[in-house]
Amino acid sequence: MDSLLSNRLQKSVVLLVAMILLVIAMISSVLFGLHNFDLSTVVTAYTSFDGGNDHLIIKHTRVPRAITAAVVGSSLAVAGVLLQSLTRNPLADSSIMGVNAGAAFTIVLALYLFGSVFSFTDMMWIGFLGAGVTAVLVYLLGSAGRGGMIPIKLMLSGAAVAAFTSSLTSLLMLVDSKSMEDAMYWLMGSVSGRDLKHAAMITPYLLCGWVVAWLMARSLNLMALGDDVAISMGQKTVWVKATVIFVAVLLSGGSVALAGPIGFVGIIIPHMCRFIIGIDHRWLIIYSAVLGALFLVTADLLSRFLLMPEEVPVGVATAVVGVPFVISLVRRRAYE
């Protein structure tokens, strides 16, 4: 499998460049938008906060937004890598574990049963819980019977559970349209309007996810050779698979709780990274984390300018940035 970069030096240098780009993108995300600031205002917002409009916007809108986008982008991308290698399916992403649909369903159900009494923090935890429960259900259904967890069973049960829960979600929303305006805000998928404390609540979980994902890299490389080879090399495949799924659900559940369902990043970023550095998971996971963050921060920045002064959902902007890029990348290679 040939990739753009072949040796370690190249890979490290490009990774460094990507990280620098990420920092630049995050700073631009703080600086530019409907109001533009300069760097000194940002610095004074933290050194000598004066309570003025500019400082408030920077501290409570722009900075949380940039951080949320980065955290969510890299989590989704890493979850995508994990699930794609687990299922050996290039079209897999976090939605195949039913986390998006499950989180949406529990939030809408809670709003339906108790009315709009929830703060954003409550909704976030309800969503996280729903994502977890749905994923467990998918896993149990996918690994019932002889042979344990087989990718095809997992994918199919994931797709079925997701379809089922999201049809229940739309039913609830159609029957009781009143309290659903609260849910819509969350269901659209967005990185704006989150407070720094929300990101701070979820980030520790995501951080654990990233670290464990990276520690699993060698096992993932082995798993890519197929179950038989992996077992004969002494891998405890059942445990590896269970851990991989757990981490993937942690990452994608955390992201969906924080930012709502955001598609495309989880499928496409792992593929981009494979084009750049090949299939070694030790590099793939780091690259996906950095490029996923870079991608979502850039898309979020763009989403402010597409329909100025209105903002478009970040999902629209990810497609605008991503689609042409992906097509040109995919066309560069021959397959099979």
Partner: protein, 346 residues
Amino acid sequence: MSRFIVVRKKKPAFSFHLDQKAMYVNLLLIIALIIGIIFSIGLGSIQIPVADVLKVLLGWGESTYEIVVLNLRLPRIVVSIMVGASLAVSGAILQALIRNPLASPDLIGTTTGATAAAVAFITFTDGTYSIHWMPLIALLGGLFTASLTYLAAWRKGMSPFRLALIGVSISSGMGALTVFFMLASPLQKAQQALGWMTGTVYGSAWQHVVTLLPWTLAFLLLACHQIRHLNAQELGDDVAQGIGMPIEKKRLSLIAISVALAGAAVGIAGGISFVGLMAPHMARKLVGSSYGALLPASGILGAMFVLLADLAARTLFVPLDIPAGVFTAAIGAPFFMYLLYKSRNG
């Protein structure tokens, strides 16, 4: 006696063998569908006894029932059946071509493109053109997007993997475009578009049936005619080529059939989800994966799901008439999970 019945002309333009067990399953499915149709005609805000339903269908029913059945319920039922069968067969074809269990008519952009075109039509033309153009616009949108995917994925030949990846990208691009159109339009138009996107057969009339029937029937028959090529495609490019199939040509024509079926279905009924993805898998669990039995079984199952979904949609929450698209998964998914669980050791 062999387990299989071979269906083949002397000079094979079509050829497949039928598993006898699969044939019985298909027969049972057809009977179930017919029972479903009769119940679906009888149930609703006016209840009609089964005997009267049969009388009306045979032509000597009471005139009050006749109006309800012939003008309101029957066209809607026929449209549901056509839409369901088209989506399911379209999905089954794509799963053979792309050789990925997650393939569905969304994957190469047919449904998302049709949706984007329909939403653009709703939001931008502002009622200057008749709503009757909508199915055609949606169909054209679907055809355009699928061709775009195909062309973008073509590079000295086709690879299913490249087709899938580019399809996902273009699909999500079309999804983004749809959201963009909805945001750029007034709220009322956006709501109309949202209703359309969920998928409904509400308000189907004989006019729709007459427009859709020849098209659907023609392409369904064409699909059945291509069964042996589907079986070959599923074995992989190399094997298919090895047994003498002109692989690119066949792939293109199969994609065209799949797009034509799904595009027309979406044009009439909007984005009904789940059927195109799941009906083929259910059929696979029931009759195995030889396309001679699989394709009809997918079609019948798909038809049944949309039929039952629409029945649930118009009877469960009276007086609300909920889009059928909400119920396709609510009915189909539990059944599918049951099949998955039952065949867990298979």
